[in-house]
Symmetry: C2
Subunit: 386 residues, 2 copies
């Protein structure tokens, strides 16, 4: 066979762009943020449809949300056509455990003729958005997704990112894709009705991102602990904004679809995933991340990278925010699961084990192994910290 | 709320690169194309695994292919670790109809610890590759996929492209993603054992791409009709190479993930999809595409865009290659389904109806409507053409 038959290279780039809006009372008829978004898209050709899917947990606090959405579209939005039947589907981790839930979304996409240029608008917590995002990404090879996250954690972290997933074969996030949304609307009025654990839980991701990205943000959180504990919504809005900003900056300047081995946003996460699982998900993601942050900060101190006063500031901040570092399940099963957690983390991400530790507050450092005895000592210091 | 809370833009690009290799006897121990590919990737860190999945139709003609693969890896490939259990799964359209098949692939990915930096190597026809590609794209948010297409159609068209899919809710390709492979190996020795219909069927995509991209390629096919009918493998290798080359050039210079409305590679396809369905898939994709090409070429002539001698050359080429333009199901149900087919095509792609017609051989033209009575006349001319 002649040389000309040897091979052909295919090489191209795909551009993504989405906007994260920060607002209050998104569906109040005098709030035009959502309406303006759709009107800007109007010129593209045929009239598009919008299928709305709501986390049924939202109905506990806003039982008229479906009517509010209908009124909003009737009053303000002429550029797209709202599908009359607004779906409600259970949220929380269970939404990701059973195929029936994402299949409900895909079936509705089929039934209502939602095409690749139409929209699915998902309103709910992080797990719910993960599940709807998966259905949306794989139907017609990708329907346009609008996320409206309703918890601190989803507004400042997963909801502004580029991933979706469901659990499969008993493995968390085993099925999923990288599929950026077309827009995210962070409405702080959803945060007011969160219970105390959900309010606090999302703050852990802000502490995390401050530690690896921006020392000034860490100091700002330190100086606002009391306001956060007292549920000052203005302070929370600022925290959500800055955390989302750092998260987005990281995604767009890094490796958004994670083709490499490095996962710099996963500081404090290798053990957090295991702890959630060990507690049968009774410990929330943010609560587990707080433990992971504490453990890796102490480890960084014991390795001589982080100063003593720095790791103490971090642990005191976490306790000041109300996080727990000595859950009974930690004392019972934590130590024996440290090495297992490291290997599972490596396997899920693929490639070489790559972790972030701290060289200082706001100064991350990549490492590729952890010393077992130092890790054990760090664990002991953590669970006994007062 | 102050202005600084308004919004944050996220904007980034993702780069993709893959190579399509053309070879013979890929698993002969003295063929180092595959081995060299893996060795080039060796330096990335941990040792990667390769899970091989074979279309069981291949075993009819190459019943020792699993042993050949094992010997090849044992002899040549030290840089990756072959999973000993080589899966065989049914191919053909049915592979895409039942969830159990893609779930077999995802379960194996889980069971054998195939991580995001490891490989799934899929060997089979177009439908089989679509199905394995779907499982691979959604497991761990994307395992590296190596495609080894075994039919003319998959070697020159779908197998070198960026899509995957399964059928769902009775809708063809309803679930799927855009996910480029990391490499494609086109081995012409698989083509020798194809039955006559599969040999011919794939030629339709070459005719199609020549009509919309390259007049010289059209003339080359015209001058090689007899060699193609006589199953000259050298001529077929050249046809596959040039068709793949034009297909890849189109993808990388256009809109690879089809965010817009234009689908320039779908010339002749709007009616082909419907015809496959009407025949309950007894008419193969390429056979249906030949009908679609004929119909749209006559339509282009009747609209005054294509010269009479040009449309006659196209129809004579199709008949010369052995394609049928008057299937019984066409005579029975074709006409009444023309408008339905147009609407379904628009709906699946989303957005505004956008079709290609011809301004000349090698000269495409975008249109946004079709004239019903001209379409009916084109249909009559086609089914009566001798």
């Amino acid at each position: 066979m002649s040389n000309r038959f040897n091979s052909i290279q295919s090489e191209f780039q795909i551009s993504y762009r989405y906007e994260v809006f920060f607002t209050k009372h998104l569906f109040a008829v005098n709030n035009l943020v959502l309406c303006d978004f759709f009107n800007l898209k109007e010129q593209e050709g045929t009239k598009k449809k919008v299928l709305v899917v709501v986390d049924d947990g939202i109905l506990l606090h806003q039982k008229n949300i479906r009517e509010a959405i209908q009124t909003y579209f009737e009053t303000n939005v002429t550029s797209v056509q709202l599908v009359k039947n607004i779906l409600t589907i259970p949220g929380g981790e269970n939404a990701k455990n059973q195929n029936e839930f994402w299949e409900l979304v895909s079936s509705a996409i089929s039934e209502y003729g939602i095409d690749r240029h139409s929209y699915v608008m998902a309103i709910g917590g992080g797990a719910f958005l993960d599940m709807v995002g998966f259905a949306t990404a794989v139907s017609h090879r990708g329907i346009r997704l609008i996320r409206i996250p309703t918890t601190v954690l989803s507004q400042n972290d997963s909801g502004v990112g580029v991933k979706n997933s469901i659990n499969y074969l008993g493995k968390k996030n085993f099925l999923g894709t990288f599929a950026p949304p077309v827009a995210v609307f962070n409405d702080s009025s959803f945060l007011v009705s969160l219970d105390e654990r959900d309010w606090r839980s999302g703050i852990a991701e802000a502490v995390k991102v401050s530690l690896i990205k921006e020392e000034t943000f860490f100091r700002w959180i330190e100086s606002n602990v009391q306001s956060l504990v007292n549920r000052d919504i203005g302070v929370m809005e600022q925290l959500v904004f800055d955390c989302a900003r750092l998260h987005i900056e990281h995604i767009r300047s890094g490796d958004p679809f994670e083709f490499g081995s490095s996962r710099p946003l996963d500081f404090g996460h290798w053990f957090a995933h295991k702890l959630e699982y060990l507690s049968n998900f009774s410990i929330r993601h943010g609560e587990a991340v707080a433990v992971g942050i504490a453990l890796d900060s102490i480890y960084s101190f014991l390795c001589g990278d982080l100063e003593e006063k720095e790791y103490l500031r971090i642990l005191r901040l976490l306790l000041g925010l109300g996080f727990t570092l000595n859950f009974p399940i930690l004392l019972e099963k934590g130590k024996e699961n440290l090495e297992i957690a490291l290997e599972e983390f490596r396997e899920h991400l693929g490639g070489k084990l790559t972790l972030l530790m701290l060289d200082g507050i706001g100064k991350p450092k990549e490492v590729y192994t952890m010393d077992h005895s130092i890790l054990m000592s760090a664990f002991d210091i953590m669970v006994n910290f007062r």
